[in-house]
């Protein structure tokens, strides 16, 4: 029974509240869930098995313990029978204690074996799960930046936590007990066939129906669970984004509207579950009933035969007994089945994530990085994030060793993109980026990245102390070095004024600092690395101009022998660069030193004039000159 149906869950599904009709959209609605259902069950089980395999002996032990547990508990009726036959009926009391002791022994044994069976099962299952969890995380670390830009954190987290948790039961007890149940069913079938195969076949008449019925319900159940998994991912994505952006929600008094959105998704999730409950209840009840119905049927059919003497009464009674035993494991199977369908829906999503190969590849045998210093060249670079919007359109420039280069251009011109490409967060579509004449794609990606210290435009600090953040968890960095870097960006004083100094605990994303302070820390973090190339993307945009100027002086002094690439809007930051590259429309339109460009009288000169003009018109009635259009 391979599973080839596919459900495409569009998240922007049409509800019926007027909010939706009017075009309002839910937070986090911007992402389409991918197709599911491309895995066959067998393939899923095979892949799960990969994680169970290293611990297969444990699983086997668990499997063997199952009949042992039943065997011990089966000794009890036997002891009882001996007690009745040999002692109670004759009225004999001596020696009965022995039976009692054995009985008590089986009770203890039963408990003891159960303990180990259950513990080992969990142990094995959790071992497998631990490995799976680690594999997912390791895999996700390799995925390309572009993947994270289009996948909300909440959705990824659902796969990495909730979906994985969902597998726990299946891995730790589900599969093993199912195997045990299947064995029992098989054994009973064999016994019945041996005892009386005609009657046996007659009794099994319901089985094909049952299988067919289960197959049909399985389809509905799985479909329901797929919807459930999609909805829950959607629900959690909304929740996650709401939590991270709660202050914006509150500032724009959108609590109620967002809550209604959430409630709608929540209702969809609930209803999807309710559908699953319905199928599950039917499946479960039908299998329960099948046992009794079979018994009724045997009685009906068998009584005639018994009365005519075709079968003995003993066989008939035995059959009824066996059929009752036969349906017990089947009932268990049905109960587990539901769990398994749910787990399968989860594992589909997990393996889909594991199969995502949106990875920026490191070459198989990377070249060693060339001799320093580096000469960086962009040669006819074309790039677009999405297929249709070209961001860089044949960009050419070089950065000489130890040169300080500034990149300017209006917002959205592609300055940050240049930086993303240089560190291979993204790969270019066409052209080449070269370091000392070698294509950067030839180098090991981690080695390449460690040549650069990048201060990204969006500052991200980790939870933990300032020191941990500055050293990035590398304990080998001497404290003096940390302090030196902090002093250079004038953060040392700030840090010392905080309670605990360098041990001050930052909140998530460093949200307990001001934006400028965060930028200073991110700056210091980059300087500590003492990189070959320093890349600053509006690294001091939120820092006051006095501090910025001081930092710049310090850097000029100390990093005289380093290459740097700086993106900034403030003229004061740009002017002192050795060379200024002006980016427009994805191409380099001007380059040269400040003076040269001023002489040229192009883009850059106009930019400077503009800033100068405003600054000059102090207190004037109409200080603003009519702005120029940049896109000419």
């Amino acid at each position: 029974m391979s599973d080839t149906d596919s459900t495409t869950e569009s998240d922007a599904s049409n509800g019926s509240t007027d909010r939706k009709d009017k075009g309002g959209a839910a937070i986090g609605s911007g992402f389409q869930e991918r197709k599911l259902g491309k895995f066959a069950d067998t393939a899923l089980v095979r892949r799960l098995w990969k994680y169970m395999r290293p611990y297969r002996w444990l699983f086997v032990v668990c499997l063997l313990l199952l009949p042992a547990v039943s065997a011990v508990s089966l000794v009890q009726p036997w002891m009882l029978q001996i007690a009745i036959d040999d002692y109670l009926i004759p009225g004999e009391f001596d020696g009965l204690w022995f039976i009692m002791v054995v009985y008590a022994g089986t009770v203890v044994g039963h408990a003891f074996l159960t303990y180990w069976q259950q513990y080992l099962m969990k142990y094995a299952g959790n071992l497998a799960l631990r490995d799976l969890r680690q594999d997912i995380f390791d895999h996700v670390q390799q995925l390309a930046s572009s993947f994270f830009k289009k996948t909300p954190v909440g959705r990824l987290m659902t796969r990495m936590t909730t979906d994985t948790e969902n597998l726990e039961e299946a891995l730790s007890s589900g599969l093993v007990t199912m195997a045990g149940d299947l064995l029992t069913v098989f054994a009973i079938v064999v016994i019945l066939m041996v005892v009386n195969w005609q009657l046996a076949l007659a009794s099994f008449i319901v089985v094909p129906f049952l299988i067919g019925f289960t197959a049909v319900l399985r389809y509905f159940l799985r479909k329901a669970y797929r919807t459930v998994r999609t909805k829950i991912a959607r629900l959690y994505a909304h929740l996650q984004e709401s939590i991270t952006g709660m202050d914006v929600i509150q500032l724009f008094v959108r609590e109620k509207v967002s809550r209604d959105e959430y409630s709608d998704i929540n209702a969809e999730y609930r209803d999807a579950n309710i559908r699953a409950i319905r199928w599950d209840a039917i499946l479960y009840a039908v299998i329960e009933a099948a046992g009794s119905i079979t018994i009724g049927a045997i009685l009906w059919y068998g009584s005639g035969q018994a009365l005519e003497g075709i079968v003995t009464l003993g066989v008939l009674v035995a059959f009824i007994e066996y059929m009752q035993k036969f349906f017990k494991p089947i009932r268990n199977l049905a109960e587990k089945y539901n769990l398994l369908q749910n787990a399968m829906a989860s594992s589909e999503r997990i393996f889909e994530l594991l199969d995502t190969d949106e990875i920026i590849e490191s070459p198989a045998d990377p070249e060693p990085l060339p001799q320093r210093p580096y000469r960086i060249e962009f040669r006819d670079v074309h790039f677009s994030y999405t297929d249709d919007e070209t961001v860089l359109d044949g960009l050419n420039f070089e950065i000489e060793p130890c040169e300080r280069v500034a990149l300017v251009g209006h917002t959205g011109a592609g300055k940050s993109t240049v930086i993303n490409l240089l560190t291979r967060l993204y790969d270019i579509d066409d052209g080449q980026i070269l370091i000392n004449g070698r294509d950067i794609r030839n180098f090991d990606i981690h080695q390449l990245r460690s040549q650069f210290a990048v201060v990204l435009q969006d500052v991200f600090l980790f939870r933990g102390t300032i020191l941990e953040n500055l050293t990035l968890g590398d304990d080998s960095v001497p404290f003096d070095r940390v302090r030196e870097a902090a002093e250079m960006v004038y953060a040392d004083e700030l840090i010392n004024s905080l309670p605990g100094g360098y041990e001050f605990e930052l909140a998530e994303r460093g949200s307990n600092l001001s934006s400028g302070e965060k930028q200073l820390l991110a700056f210091a973090r980059a300087l500590i690395l003492d990189p070959e190339v320093l890349v600053l993307d509006e690294a001091t945009a939120n820092v006051d101009t006095d501090t910025e100027a001081l930092i710049q002086k310090a850097i000029e002094r100390l990093l005289a022998h380093q290459t740097s690439l700086v993106v900034a809007h403030r003229l004061s930051t740009i002017q002192s660069a050795d060379r200024i590259l002006v980016l427009d429309d994805g191409q380099l339109v001007e380059q040269g030193s400040h003076d040269e460009l001023m002489e040229l009288g192009g883009h850059y000169a106009r930019l400077v004039q503009l800033q100068y003009a405003t600054t000059a018109s102090t207190g004037g009635e109409d200080g603003f000159i009519e702005p120029l259009d940049h896109d000419d």
């Binding site: 309002g24 009726p77 109670l88 008094v253 009685l299 009584s303 809007h569």
Partner: protein
């Protein structure tokens, strides 16, 4: 009980008082009481039907035995029809039981889902009330874990145990009545050891409960790690931290695994104990009952029957162990969820709300700070004795060094925090007397770090408009006047037109036209697929569209090039007329036009006045200004 503190949940041992827990559990259970009752009725019916099947079966077999074994010719056809009747009854009962079972499961499990639905909504509602201070102190991953995994466990707490407990109760009451009917002394003897055993079980259950909490907390840690790693993935990549992250995660994963193992041990122990308990009954029957049989006070048939009942009770008792585990996990999760729900919002709506005066005449939005002091963490004051007045309709600027408290000051206006001392008044009304949401309706806030949601650009722009459009609890009407207050304009503007206008004002036209899908372009979480300047300008448009009385621009043009900045400022100049606006900026060239400039230093206002006045004063501002000007001109 719970004090409005902003300690992050889990920072100290949180123990939900039992009565609160009971009350809360009941609160969610109550609305579905009828469902659970109906479910129990169906359950009892199911049990009655299934339990009477053996009787008919036994009678039929007995009848057959008598007939087949007996000599002479009985009327076999009569026997046969009787047996057939029995089988029909059995089949009918089976079908009846199945139908009742379907209904019982559906009603009870559905009720569980509805409870889950309610709990989730309640959590969201509550989270929406909690203040920025709370979010600052609580890791997002922890919140997510509580609102996701824990809620799932809470749901299981209601439905499954209920189903099983009812089942067990039915089984027990049927068995017990029959047992007492057979021999009450033996019944008593069987029951006698239970209290002791249950006492022993209590300790294990307590361990189970505490360990469950530990495991759930560890799961939270895992989520927190994942969440942080994913949100900082670009830094992780740029600084080649993947290895370190994997190792850290590995450690946490291992701890989680180890704690899970401990839990597994406790669970297995509990189940083993329950098996002991369940089997004790049979042992007692064997020991005590056999005496009764031998001394003749009980006959063998009764002994066997009695034993049968006791054995029949073993499986439901064992199932109870499983129920206990789920129950305790549910309670532990419920405590973690309740910890959030019990966390009282720090910012409360006033008991005797005042309201902002209706906009009368041209100018509204006067802001007064009266000796305001504020600190985030209790000791280090971010604002000290700040007194200032921003007249209605004027444009003010706040400047100062990094960390001097500019953003803090404007956050207080939007009442994201309450000052420790002093009072803030808007149009004469203290902000804590204005209902929080009414206040914020009147404020257009452009935060320093732009935050966009993963929706389309257009949807992000109308983020605040949506609240006005669809939230009936808000008084403020959807604005329909043009943004650039054109006096001569009559009638109403559609939101579509207003958005177009906002795009022009925020100088986004070129960018939007550049996107193939225009306003329908999706932005990533936090707006990651836009450039920094684009993000900032979208947030400006978002704030302008709600037509606020007070506009706050917190360094809102920092990532925008000078050229674009000028275009925007030029337009904003018009917009700012008739409303109060506050600009926080590090670029002084924009400040020449401003009505009043406040200079903050280390949380204090050190200077104030117009640009001209401040230059004349030749104080901090003038010097900063000169330096900046010098630097920008030194090459001229």
């Amino acid at each position: 009980m719970a004090t409005p503190s902003d300690k992050p949940p889990g920072s100290e041992e949180f123990a939900l008082p039992p009565d609160v827990r009971r009350r809360r559990l009941w609160q969610y259970f109550r609305p579905y009481l009828k469902w659970f009752l109906a479910g129990s009725v169906f359950l009892v019916l199911t049990n009655l039907a299934t339990l009477s099947i053996p009787q008919y079966l036994g009678d039929a077999v007995q009848l057959l035995r008598e007939t087949v074994g007996a000599p002479g010719d009985f009327d076999t056809s009569a026997v046969r029809s009787e047996v057939i009747t029995a089988s029909i009854i059995i089949i009918a009962l089976a079908i009846g039981a199945a139908v009742a079972r379907i209904f019982s499961r559906i009603t009870i499990f559905n009720a569980g889902r509805y409870i889950e639905f309610d709990v989730r909504n309640a959590l969201y509602d509550h989270l929406a009330k909690l203040s920025p201070a709370f979010y600052g102190a609580t890791p997002t991953g922890d919140l997510t874990s509580r609102t996701t995994n824990d809620v799932t466990y809470v749901r299981l707490l209601y439905a499954l145990p209920f189903l099983h407990i009812v089942n067990t109760l039915v089984a027990y009451s049927i068995a017990l009545t029959r047992m007492v009917g057979v021999d009450w002394r033996l019944t008593l003897a069987c029951i006698l050891p239970y209290p002791f055993l249950l006492f022993g079980l209590r300790r294990v259950m307590y361990a189970l409960f505490t360990q469950t909490k530990v495991v759930q907390a560890k799961l939270s840690d895992l989520s927190t790690h994942i969440q942080e790693n994913l949100s900082g993935i670009d830094v992780v990549k740029s600084y080649v931290l993947e290895q370190r992250e994997c190792e850290h995660y590995g450690e946490e994963n291992e701890t989680y695994f180890q704690e899970n193992l401990k839990l597994a041990k406790i669970r297995a122990l509990m189940n083993a104990l329950i098996i002991l308990i369940a089997s004790t009954g049979t042992l007692v029957v064997l020991i005590v009952g056999s005496r009764f049989v031998i001394d003749g006070s009980m006959n063998l048939g009764e002994f066997v029957e009695f034993n049968g009942y006791i054995v029949a009770l073993v499986p439901p008792t064992i199932a109870l162990g499983w129920v206990f585990a789920i129950y305790h996990r549910g309670i532990a999760a419920f405590d973690r969820v309740s910890e959030l729900l019990e966390h009282e919002p720090q910012l409360q709506d006033p008991d005797d709300p005042g309201s902002l005066p209706e906009p009368s005449g041209q100018h509204v939005g006067e802001i007064v700070f009266d000796d305001v002091s504020f600190s985030y963490d209790g000791d280090d004051a971010a604002l000290k004795d700040v007194s200032l007045t921003i007249p209605a309709g004027s444009t003010a600027a706040i400047v100062g060094k990094t960390g001097s408290g500019k953003s803090t000051l404007v956050r207080l206006i939007a009442r994201m925090y309450d000052p420790d001392e002093g009072e803030i008044r808007i149009d004469g009304v203290p902000v804590d007397r204005i209902p929080l949401r009414d206040l914020r309706c009147e404020i257009g806030f452009v935060p320093q770090e732009p935050f966009l949601f993963s929706m389309t650009v257009g949807q992000n722009m109308r983020f605040g408009l949506d609240s006005l459009a669809y939230d009936s609890t808000l008084d403020k009407a959807l604005p329909d006047e043009p943004l650039l207050g054109d006096e001569s304009f009559e009638g109403a503007l559609t939101q579509r037109d207003r958005i177009q206008e906002a795009i022009d004002i925020a100088a986004l036209r070129g960018d939007i036209d550049g996107f193939r899908e225009g306003l329908e372009t999706l932005v990533g979480e936090r707006g990651v697929t836009l450039s920094g300047g684009q993000k900032q300008r979208v947030t400006i448009a978002r704030a302008l569209l709600v037509n606020p009385r007070i506009l706050i621009l917190d360094d809102a043009l920092a990532s925008v090039d000078t050229h674009t900045e000028r275009r925007i400022l030029h337009q904003l100049d018009t917009i700012m007329q008739g409303r109060t606006s506050i600009m926080l900026t590090h670029r002084f060239n924009a400040l020449t036009e401003v009505d009043k400039i406040f200079v903050l230093d280390d949380g204090r206002i050190v200077e104030q006045g117009t640009h001209g006045e401040l230059i004349e004063q030749n104080g901090v501002y003038a010097q900063m200004y000169q330096r900046q000007k010098l630097r920008e001109q030194y090459d001229q």
